[in-house]
Amino acid sequence: MKCDNCDNEATVHEVTVRKGKKIEKHLCEQCAAGEGLSVQASLPINTLLSKFMMSTQLEEESETVDHCPECGMTFAEFRQSGLLGCAACYDSFEDQLTSLIERAQEGRSRHVGRTPASGPKCLDRENIIASLRQELDEAVASERYERAAQIRDELRTISESADADDDDGD
């Protein structure tokens, strides 16, 4: 069925009865939105499921769940996408993740495979610092001071973590 207003396929159908007279409207999504009809697109089943799971589990988890201080991801966000925000999320959500990981990994939750070789640890860090410095110069030159301040913070964080790594004896 075509939309009443344009050539698109009508996906929103409204039937109202006014003074005993039936009025039908058949609109495409855009035209419906234009006329102020609320459109609830059908949700994929996994979204529905995760919403359902979240609503039932939110209460019990609300005490333990916090956001990851490193990237700001919440456990609810993770549940929805199945993807974590950063490496630190594994620490931030360790308790919740461990049981989930055990279920997915035949009951195992400890790594026994390859470990990173002890190669030069700072190759990519140097690159990052060099590219950040360049970006900082550009930001200052174009008077984007807010961005410049952000980059300075990033540079500070990186050099601090480098120091921490050096102190780290294990």
């Binding site: 993807l83 925000g85 950063c86 790594h111 390859r114 990173p116």
Partner: protein, 353 residues
Amino acid sequence: MPHEDPINPEGGVEWLRADGPQTDVVMSSRIRLARNLESFPFLTKATPDERQRIVAIAREQTLAAALADQMIWVDLRETPKLERNLLVERHLISKQHAKGDAPRAVAVSSPDERLAIMVNEEDHLRIQVMRSGLDLQEVFQQISEVDDKLEKRMDFAFSSRFGFLTACPTNVGTGIRVSVMLHLPGLKLSGELEKVRRAAKSMSLAVRGFYGEGSDAVGDFYQLSNQTTLGKTEEQILEEFEGKMLPKVIDYERHARKKLLAERRKLIEDRVHRALGTLRHARLLAANESLQLLGYLRLGVAAGLIKDVPLQTVNRLILLTQPAHLQRALQKELDQAKRRVERADLVRAQLAG
């Protein structure tokens, strides 16, 4: 900037060679490793700027690491859709990686296309090595060398408890996915495929279609892969995969083919020759139809029922009849109806008796 043409649609493709071991059942072997750079958030939380920097670092390091005789860098943001789909059809990037506008790329070894490194897919790096036939040991050796070389140049996110840290916890630990592309028409025709599916599931293996997650098993092509990535060494995972389940599946498939040929020979001959007849004479061929027919033809060639078509031709056609390859070969975009005409023309020409 003119787009360079790094991938030769007629050349390379490792999994088409059809000369590896056990190639009657195993099309190709593949291992991939998921790795993330320690200094950046995962992609769900990375800003466009950070994504861009990950691409820049990956580019510099993968090209400098001497991973292959020649590595080609494909910036997917600057690559037209048709070319991106070409890479999907060659199993060099995932469908997901072909979509969107975010900064992302793939590095491919040329001309063999055995090695591909997806940058900014679900993880910062997805390293894959692929070979024709069943050759997982060689694949594992190559990918371990690549991993070692990259590791010397980049700090990967790693924890002593959980191992290599990945965006999705189902990949954490080794980050390894071992998979083979199997052709299982015998098990399908004899109705025994469900048994294999159940057995695979009980051994924590996944069975998927031709283009991975969520895709159909048209042409009776199936991907078998490990699910467990944590708590076992890479060697254990490989050994369990290669030693326990896989030889059984290959044996079942050969046994099913033999049995079908012994007990229902006319039925199999009919399927195979009908497929060849249709492929040789059809004037319109849809993508799924041709893949299904090529699947039967492949069975006929592998079983010795068809003698005048080499297995490699069948494998080549499986790739060249995919939509992006078809359009690339003809140097123009075609709608579905026109593709059916061109696909039938191509198949007729290649299989002319």
